[in-house]
Symmetry: C2
Subunit: 320 residues, 2 copies
């Protein structure tokens, strides 16, 4: 049995795990990221965390085949971090640094890509060869798996499925463009849509759910109120799911994955979201009768997906 | 030197060529498709055309390594035509039929995919490994080349980059959905946009260009009038290029090809189209400063792209 270390560098925590070749997580731990620190300090903590998690697992570096790292930014195939905005990193040869510190092969991936790979090898997409993962968060996270491997664009510069134009001339997106898919379907977008509907509808039950304070709106509020049969909330939810279904259908029509994996807190709505979402994707897919679109399912690994996917980087590259 | 036959089944003509392994077209011919005939009759003509083009080239079937066929529809990797609407074909084992008729290995591809492959191996994209080809025609044709091979979606069901939602709730598309990219950027869409602008602007010079007959508008009219400094036409052209640039930027941000290859009659406008198109793609690409988008260039092979690409199918599959 081979063993691997997976590291997921998040904005809040660095999570580190020992994963076996059957993708079981044996031990894990996390430490605060301290994203405002210098790269050196953060790297010191990663090295110490690797040693600590091996301690927990009763192993040494000699038991490990390789270390995989999921980076919140763009990485090159030869192991450079081109840029990780939230960490303040630019052109950091992270693979070389970590490899020389720990004496093991190191593989890098984008964090969203690693999460998608984790879901495909050990989560909701286990046993499929290709998948699209869409995570509904502050923005839209996307990961593409083709033939069991991360596809980060032909040139490896990363995929940005949140930023295709979905509504020409529409909502301003955080990226500066108007009408991006993300500006209609992120959790942030849902909250904006909810607030606007509340302002137009002072009688909506959503006001009671936030104690009259519109700043308290989160992505759960419209769903909770819709389940109480609040008409305003039902309209918000239906519109949001329509945006999501239509956008995903468009990606699916070209990428043709075997599975769509949905991540992010909004997916905790379960069937209330997933059933109409699947109906919508089918309705909006091109030639859905001849080519039924893939099912959309919920991610199952949560935060572990990033660790397991990072740990699985070497194995994915060994695949033919 | 190895030699290959390429067949491009178009709506009007079946084009057949002999291509050498350096992707030179040695001889070619075409015969009317007769798309309303039974499949058997059309296949008889394909077989006869193969023999005829070999005659022209002074060769026999024994000189040929394989036959590639570009089909206007969806094909499976094991050689079935799932559907070719305009030919009335459904579940036709074309590979098996042609192979047994001619005693040679036969490869199938979608016609737009074959054209993209042809441009990448012998046209404007020669020496690149990955490209997006967009053809501006009655609809939007798209072809994706990854690592020198056709990418027809993970499941091989074909790519439909004309049908992602580009303007939610907008123009009705031929596919039945609203707001598809194709409904804003095909030649058909440009003609519709031109006619609307003419109806609103009876003083536009475009009226003179079509002898006052709006039915005579084609994709060249707005460009011709824009070059005569007609304000209405300039606005139509600028808006059309903006649609095109924004949509292509979105595809490029995820697919990250080395090159964008533009096909279709509208591209005969040359720099007048291509310079602002490239500027627009750069303007609308995500993080263009860190990751400059690929150049968009004109296709150079015209109708030969489909023949050469079909002929190159076997060679592309031999690539690692």
């Amino acid at each position: 049995m081979r063993y691997f270390i997976g590291i997921d560098i998040g904005g809040t925590n660095i999570a580190v795990g020992v994963v076996d070749e059957e993708k079981n997580m044996l031990k894990k731990l996390s430490v605060p990221t301290g994203a405002d620190r210098k790269a050196d300090a953060l790297i010191d903590d990663m090295v110490a965390s690797v040693r600590a998690v091996l301690e927990l697992a009763g192993m040494t570096l000699a038991d490990i085949s390789s270390i995989g790292i999921g980076v919140p930014g763009a990485v090159t195939q030869d192991g450079n971090v081109i840029q990780a905005v939230n960490l303040g990193w630019k052109n950091l040869p992270l693979q070389e640094i970590m490899s020389s510190r720990l004496g093991l092969p190191v593989y890098l991936g984008n964090d969203a890509d690693c999460a998608a790979l984790g879901e495909v090898v050990a989560g909701s997409g286990a046993n499929c060869n290709s998948a699209l993962m869409i995570t509904l968060g502050t923005g839209i996270g996307g990961g593409f798996i083709v033939n069991g491997k991360i596809f980060s664009g032909c040139t490896g510069q990363g995929t940005e499925p949140g930023h295709f134009t979905f509504c020409y001339g529409g909502e301003l997106c955080g990226c500066g463009k108007r009408g991006c898919f993300e500006a209609y379907t992120s959790a942030t977008a849902l909250i904006r849509q909810t607030r606007r509907a509340m302002e137009k509808n002072p009688d909506s039950k959503m006001w009671a759910l936030v104690d009259g304070d519109i700043d308290k709106v989160n992505g759960k509020v419209p769903f909770d109120a819709a389940k109480l049969d609040d008409g305003t909330a039902r309209a918000v939810v239906a519109q949001y799911i329509d945006y999501l279904a239509m956008g995903i259908a468009g990606i699916v029509d070209t990428f043709r994955p075997e599975l769509v994996i949905m991540g992010g807190g909004i997916c905790n709505q379960g069937d209330y979201l997933m059933i109409p979402l699947n109906e919508g994707i089918r309705k909006y897919s091109f030639a859905a009768d001849e080519f039924p679109p893939p099912p959309a399912v919920r991610a199952t690994l949560g935060n572990d997906a990033g660790i397991i996917g990072a740990a699985a980087l070497q194995m994915s590259m060994e695949k033919k």
